[in-house]
């Protein structure tokens, strides 16, 4: 279980998070919604160890993640699929995926992990030797998600996975997330595509201006007036 | 410029004024030579400091301008032109060259600017070395009429000019703009500070002074190889002195120059290799631990002493 309490963080003197508390329980899919600049990426980056928070606690599985070095976070079972994918462009699909299992515990099991990822995303198996920069956006996103899965994380965090993807591909990614979750992996999803996120999330939080502005179950948030007006707009269509 | 730096400016100029009296005390030639070298070093360091400390770019081709000043001055002066005019011409050539390559060079950032200017300096040195391989020696008549005190006063004047120039720069609108682009160029541009124009101005001032220093070099030495003043070690000396003293301050290059020449002339006589080892190690230590150089060390000591005094 991931427990965040009173998290404060920012860049230079500028605060991005002003006291955020939330929870992600085992096996859950939790969505983090909010407008641009609300601090969603900062939150994920704090958990992943890329950003050092100013105050607050991040506890995962009873362990204080704040104290962990960034490259050890994945050893503790938390993986992040960063915004914009951040793949190793000049390297092949297979090489990118393999590096996902770089951690000493995961490395010996990488072949099996690779097979699981290829089973989840068959198109990647066909293009395993291709340099990732030559892939389409959707395929790159699959590689990014696959790479994060290679170390068998128990919490998978994703920062805007649907950004720049066509609806068909977004659906494919979401399907994959549901399958991953069925295997027992908790999913913490930051998304601007609210309907997509809420369609599979068990619960969600609303982050506005660095603070939690609301929370509830997926359906509750979907029906919430504020959410509908702010994020779904006049084109909101009931699923 | 802080009140602190203003104090230093006054102190340095006062010291220079005192040094003007030195020749009247009838000292030995080697004392005058020694002080001359310090004064030349001060000019060289302060001129390099303008681009590095105020415009924030590491120019590794500084010797090119020193060399050009020397070349033009030597050529014109030995052909009959009065030396001051020849030096002015040398500085002008250096500045013109700087402006021409500056426009292209400033398109490069950081490390690329540094190694690009290094390469340009080397191209010049290599070309001069090939085109003018013969040693340049003053004609006998000139040697007969050689007055060390003239060189000395010229060096004194030049050192004073360079200190005043840096002081004026630091307090001017120009200097403020430069500090802005040094801190954050994008932000400065956005608030209307024309970065390229400012950098070119800094470069022009820096190279003009370097050119004058080169002219002084040509006036001082009886014989040398024309490519010698183009050698990168002149740039590196300026770098060393400025950083050890404290880049971006008025007094830093002066302190660094004094320390450098003193150590070099005295220690070098006994341990010609070790002194460079010491400087290298000192330089590394300063970059890592005390990026503000001696000036920062003095500040800290002052702070510690002040605290101790208050506590006592």
């Amino acid at each position: 279980m991931l427990e965040i309490r009173g998290l404060r963080a920012g860049y230079g003197d500028v605060p991005a998070l002003s006291g955020v508390s939330l929870t992600v329980r085992e096996g859950e899919i939790v969505a983090l919604l909010g407008p641009n600049g609300a601090g969603k990426s900062t939150l994920l980056n704090c958990v992943a160890g890329l950003v050092r928070p100013w105050a607050g606690t991040i506890v995962w599985d009873g362990r204080d993640l704040k104290a962990a070095a960034a490259h050890l976070v994945i050893e503790h079972g938390v993986a992040l699929v960063p915004e914009g994918r951040r793949l190793f462009g000049g390297m092949s699909v297979q090489e990118n995926l393999e590096l996902g299992a770089f951690a000493p515990r995961a490395w010996p099991k990488r072949r099996a992990a690779l097979e699981r990822v290829y089973a989840l995303f068959p198109v990647l198996a066909e293009r395993r030797r291709v340099a990732v920069q030559a892939l389409s956006g959707g395929q790159q996103q699959m590689v990014a998600v696959g790479r994060a899965l290679m170390a068998s994380p128990r919490l998978l965090m994703l920062d805007e996975p649907s950004l720049g993807l066509a609806p068909r591909l977004v659906a494919a990614i979401l399907e994959a997330l549901v399958a991953i979750n069925r295997d027992g992996v908790a999913v913490f999803l930051v998304e601007q595509n609210v309907p997509a996120a809420l369609s599979l999330a068990h619960r969600g939080y609303l982050l506005e201006g660095g603070r939690i502005a609301g929370e509830g179950s997926g359906t509750d948030l979907m029906a919430n007036e504020h959410v509908r007006r702010a994020y779904l707009g006049p084109l909101a269509v009931r699923r | 410029m802080t009140g602190h730096e203003r104090g230093w400016a006054v102190a340095i100029l006062a010291a220079l004024a005192l040094l003007a009296l030195l020749p009247l005390a009838g000292p030995r030639d080697d004392v005058l030579n020694f002080v001359f070298l310090i004064l030349l070093a001060v000019t060289l360091a302060e001129s390099w400091n303008i681009v590095a400390g105020y415009a924030g770019q590491v120019n590794l081709g500084h010797a090119a301008f020193f060399g050009l000043g020397a070349l033009v001055t030597r050529t014109l002066w030995t052909a009959g032109m009065p030396v001051l005019l020849a030096m002015a011409a040398g500085a002008l050539m250096a500045t013109l060259f700087a402006l021409v390559i500056g426009v292209a060079a400033f398109r490069l950032r950081g490390a690329y600017f540094a190694i690009g200017t290094l390469a340009l300096g080397e191209i010049l040195r290599s070309t001069v070395s090939n085109v003018l391989p013969e040693i340049s020696t003053l004609p006998a008549a000139t040697i007969a009429g050689y007055r060390l005190t003239h060189r000395y006063y010229l060096a004194l004047g030049l050192a004073a000019v360079s200190v005043i120039a840096v002081a004026a720069l630091a307090t001017s609108r120009l200097g403020l703009g430069m500090r802005a682009i040094r801190e954050d160029e994008a932000a400065a541009e956005a608030s209307g500070v024309g970065a390229l124009a400012l950098k070119l101005t800094a470069l022009a001032l820096s190279t003009a002074l370097a050119g004058l220093a080169g002219g002084l070099f040509a006036y001082y030495h009886i014989s040398y190889y024309p490519s010698h003043p183009f050698g990168p070690h002149w740039t590196f000396d300026a770098l060393l002195m400025t950083f050890i003293g404290g880049v971006g301050t008025l007094q830093g290059p002066v302190l660094g120059a004094v320390l450098y020449v003193v150590l070099k002339e005295y220690l070098a006589l006994r341990w010609v290799d070790i002194h460079l080892l010491i400087f290298g190690a000192l330089f590394v230590a300063i970059v890592l631990l005390l990026p503000g150089g001696l000036v920062q060390a003095v500040e800290r000591a002052r702070g510690v002493l002040g605290g101790a005094r208050r506590a006592a």
Binding site: L87, M91, E95, A103 | G110, L239, L240, L277, V284, L288
Partner: protein, 288 residues
């Protein structure tokens, strides 16, 4: 000397330019540190071989077996004690600080070399030093041919290391995107250490080969740093083989220019190429 012979000699030294550049390219590509003392590390490698030959009679080619691990260790020490602190800053400061530290280091190492071995030029004469083979009108000095071959082998070995070895892949990943590397569990500080050590090992090897084929003196540092820089800029970052080819190109260009304009202009052509590439195509011939 006929043109063909000159070009051949240019090619032969070009291989060493490539090897010298490969080390610098690796280090800069991975951690954005520009070690301008790289030439001095080459110089030290050369003196290492010289010492082994002069004191223990070790054949210079065989001495690579000792020089390479020695340089590897030296690189690790220099990273841990010096450049490791530079990487804490963000990129622009990092580059500037590494430039300055490299400069101080170069000064100190050069002075050290003068102290230990005097300023004289040294070389390693062997029983086979003068051996040549003739191919048509060309005379190929065997020692230099061997150094070209070894340079190619070493670069090939590095390429293999980077593509097959787990930490080699980690190094490449870190060069591409250090934050993503952290996310996949790569300790980037260790990647930096390994890259710096490997780069220094290549420098040491290059120094040995330079000394056996030509000579070494304390002042060759700046010259070789410049050559390496020229090749790195010419070839661009990211490909070891590309860097090797870049070295060959420089060697040939120098030979062609010397043949056309005369010996003194050999050095200038490299610098001019450098400046032109920086101005026109900063990412080099093979860079991404």
């Amino acid at each position: 000397m006929i043109l063909g012979q000159q070009l051949l000699l240019g090619l032969l030294i070009g291989g060493l330019y490539g090897l010298a550049a490969a080390g610098l390219s690796l280090i800069f590509g991975v951690m954005r540190v520009l070690n301008v003392a790289h030439g001095e590390l080459i110089m030290l490698g050369g003196y290492g071989a010289f010492w082994l030959a002069a004191l223990l009679g070790v054949d210079p080619f065989a001495s690579l077996v000792l020089v390479i691990p020695g340089s590897l260790l030296l690189g690790a020490v220099l990273y841990t004690g010096l450049f490791g602190f530079v990487v804490r800053a963000h990129e622009e400061t990092r580059v500037k600080n590494s430039l300055l530290i490299g400069f101080g280091l170069a000064l100190a190492l050069q002075a050290l070399a003068v102290r230990l071995w005097t300023a004289d030029e040294r070389s390693i004469p062997t029983s086979y030093s003068g051996a040549t083979i003739s191919v048509g009108p060309l005379t190929i000095p065997l020692v230099r041919l061997a150094t070209l071959a070894l340079a190619l082998v070493l670069i090939g070995a590095l390429q293999l290391l980077l593509s097959r070895w787990r930490w080699g892949k980690a190094i490449r990943a870190t060069a591409e995107d250090w934050q993503a590397a952290l996310l996949t569990g790569i300790d980037i500080r260790r990647a930096y250490l390994l890259a710096f050590a490997l780069g220094t090992a290549l420098a040491g090897a290059a120094g040995t080969l330079v000394t056996v084929a030509y000579s070494v003196s304390p002042s060759i540092g700046l010259e070789w740093t410049l050559k390496a820089l020229i090749v790195v800029v010419l070839a661009g970052l990211g490909s070891m083989m590309g860097t090797f080819v870049g070295g060959l190109v420089l060697g040939l260009a120098e030979a062609a220019s010397a043949a056309t304009f005369g010996g003194p202009y050999r050095e200038i052509v490299g610098l001019v190429i450098f400046v032109v590439v920086l101005a026109v195509r900063p990412r080099g011939l093979f860079g991404r």
